[in-house]
C-alpha cells in the first residue's frame, strides 16, 4: 500500500460515526455545550448574511435522520478563521456542525463566503466545504456548496472538473420568497446523487 513511499506510516482508517454520536458531538438536546453548531458566523460578522437549509437523503430518497453535517468556509473577504483571521472578524467562526433532524434537515447561518485562491492563483467562486458523517458511511463524504446567483461559478476551477450534467447537485438555490435563504440538499445515492470529492 505504501510501496511508493516506504517511509510513510499507515494512517488510522476511518470508521463510521455510528448512530449514537449526538450526546458528544451535537449535545444540545442532552444539555451539553457544543463545540460548534449551525452558526458559522455570529450576528455582526461582516458580510452578506445568509442561511442554508437542506436535508440529507439516502438511496431510496428517504430522509437520513442521524447524519452530521460539518461546514467549513472563508469569511466574506476570503479569509479563513484561525489562519489569517483579522481581529475585526472575531465574530466569524468558519466552522459549523449540525445533526440532521427526523426529516433529514439541517440548517446553517453564516455570511456568504468571499473568493479564495485556487490552483495556480486562479480565483475560486464562493463556496462552502461540507463533510457528511452518518451511520452507514464508513468514511465521511466531502462535497461543496456553490451559489446559483454567482457569476464566478462559470470559471471555477473545481466546478470545472465536474461533469457539466452533474454540477447542479453542487448549487444552492435561493428560496423565492425568503431573502438570504438558500436550499441545498445532499443525496447520498441514486437519482440526483450529490457529487462528492476527494483531495
Amino acid at each position: 500500500m505504501t510501496d511508493a513511499r516506504p517511509e510513510a506510516e499507515v494512517i488510522t482508517p476511518s470508521q463510521t460515526v455510528g448512530p449514537f454520536f449526538a450526546y458528544c458531538l451535537t449535545p444540545q438536546d442532552y444539555g451539553g455545550d457544543p463545540l460548534c453548531d449551525g452558526m458559522i458566523a455570529d450576528e455582526g460578522a461582516p458580510g452578506t448574511r445568509i442561511r442554508i437549509e437542506g436535508a440529507v437523503y439516502d438511496g431510496n430518497g428517504d430522509p437520513v435522520p442521524d447524519a452530521m453535517v460539518e461546514a467549513w468556509q472563508a469569511d466574506a473577504e476570503g479569509r479563513f478563521a484561525g489562519r489569517d483571521a483579522a481581529p475585526s472578524n472575531a465574530r466569524f467562526r468558519g466552522i459549523g456542525r449540525c445533526e440532521s433532524r427526523q426529516d433529514g434537515s439541517f440548517r446553517f447561518e453564516t455570511v456568504k463566503p468571499g473568493s479564495v485562491p485556487g490552483p495556480d492563483g486562479t480565483p475560486q467562486a464562493p463556496h462552502i466545504n461540507l463533510n457528511v458523517f452518518a451511520k452507514g458511511l464508513l468514511r465521511h463524504l466531502f462535497t461543496r456548496i456553490y451559489f446559483a446567483d454567482e457569476p464566478a461559478n462559470a470559471a471555477d476551477p473545481i466546478l470545472g472538473l465536474v461533469d457539466p450534467d452533474l454540477r447542479y447537485t453542487l448549487i444552492a438555490r435561493p428560496a423565492p420568497d425568503a431573502p438570504g435563504l438558500y436550499r441545498f440538499d445532499i443525496r447520498l445515492q441514486g437519482k440526483d446523487e450529490t457529487v462528492f470529492f476527494e483531495a
Binding site: I11, G118, G136, E193
Partner: protein, 235 residues
C-alpha cells in the same frame, strides 16, 4: 507548499461494504471526483485548550458517584504519517457504558444505563502530541435489527488535525477481541496493517498499580510531505 499525499487514503474502508448493511443505501454510487488541494482544504478550524474544561478528559468524574465497570486510562500520541507529532489538536470521544448501553435516546439495548456515566469526553494534545483520557472499559453490544450481530468493545474518536483534509472519525478497539472477525465495521478496512492501527495495546509501563490499566492508542493522521526547505524532524 506541499500537498497531502493521497496514497495514504488507501487505508480507509470503501463506502460500499455490503456486509455492513447500512452502507447499501448510503454509499455513493459514482466515483469520487478528485480535486486539487486548495486553500479551503489546506486550512482548517482551530480548536484547542479554550474548548476543553478541566475534567472533560476524565469520564469517571462527571457525576456525583463513580460509574460501574473497569476503570481504564487511554493514552497515546497523535502523529502524522511522517511521524511528526500533531500538537494542540482536539479529540472528542464517546462510548457505551460498561454494560454496552449508550446514553443516546435511540439506543434501546436491554442493558442498564449508569446514572454516573455519560460517556463523552474531550482532550487536547500537548506539544508532543500526547493525550490521555480516564474512562470505563465499554461493553460490547448487539446491533439492533440484525440477527446476532455484535459490536466489539470500542471508543469512538473524532479529530480535526491541522486542516480540513486531516479530519478523522474512527473507533478504538481493545486487543484480542474475539468479535473482530464477525464485525463488518472493523472488517471493512481492507488492509491488515491499517486494521491493526485501530487496535489499542495494553501499556503496562503506564498502568497505575492498584488503580487502572492503561491502553496505548496512537492515532496517525494524514501529513504533508516534508519539503526540501524544512528541517528534518527528529524525535
Amino acid at each position: 507548499m506541499t500537498d497531502y499525499p493521497t496514497e495514504s487514503l488507501a487505508a480507509h474502508p470503501p463506502y460500499l461494504f455490503p456486509d455492513y448493511v447500512a452502507t447499501r443505501l448510503r454509499a455513493p454510487s459514482r466515483p469520487l471526483v478528485i480535486i486539487p488541494q486548495t486553500l479551503t482544504e489546506i486550512a482548517g478550524p482551530v480548536f484547542g485548550q479554550a474548548h476543553v474544561r478541566p475534567g472533560d478528559s476524565d469520564l469517571t468524574r462527571q457525576h456525583a458517584g463513580t460509574p460501574l465497570g473497569e476503570r481504564i486510562m487511554v493514552r497515546g500520541r497523535v502523529l502524522d504519517e511522517n511521524s511528526r507529532p500533531v500538537p494542540d489538536t482536539l479529540i472528542e470521544i464517546w462510548q457505551a457504558n460498561a454494560a454496552g448501553r449508550y446514553v443516546h435516546v435511540v439506543d434501546r439495548h436491554d442493558a442498564p444505563l449508569d446514572p454516573n456515566f455519560t460517556g463523552a469526553g474531550r482532550a487536547v494534545t500537548d506539544s508532543d502530541g500526547w493525550y490521555e483520557f480516564v474512562t470505563i472499559r465499554p461493553g460490547c453490544y448487539p446491533v439492533p435489527g440484525l440477527n446476532n450481530v455484535w459490536r466489539p468493545a470500542h471508543i469512538h474518536m473524532s479529530l480535526f488535525g491541522p486542516s480540513f483534509l486531516t479530519r478523522l472519525v474512527t473507533q478504538m478497539y481493545f486487543p484480542g477481541d474475539p468479535l473482530f472477525p464477525y464485525d463488518p465495521i472493523f472488517m471493512s478496512v481492507p488492509d491488515e496493517r491499517a486494521r491493526m492501527r485501530m487496535v489499542s495495546s495494553l501499556d503496562m509501563a503506564m498502568t497505575r498499580s492498584e488503580w487502572a490499566l492503561c491502553y496505548r492508542f496512537d492515532i496517525v493522521l494524514r501529513g504533508r510531505e516534508a519539503s526540501l526547505f524544512e528541517e528534518p524532524h527528529h524525535d
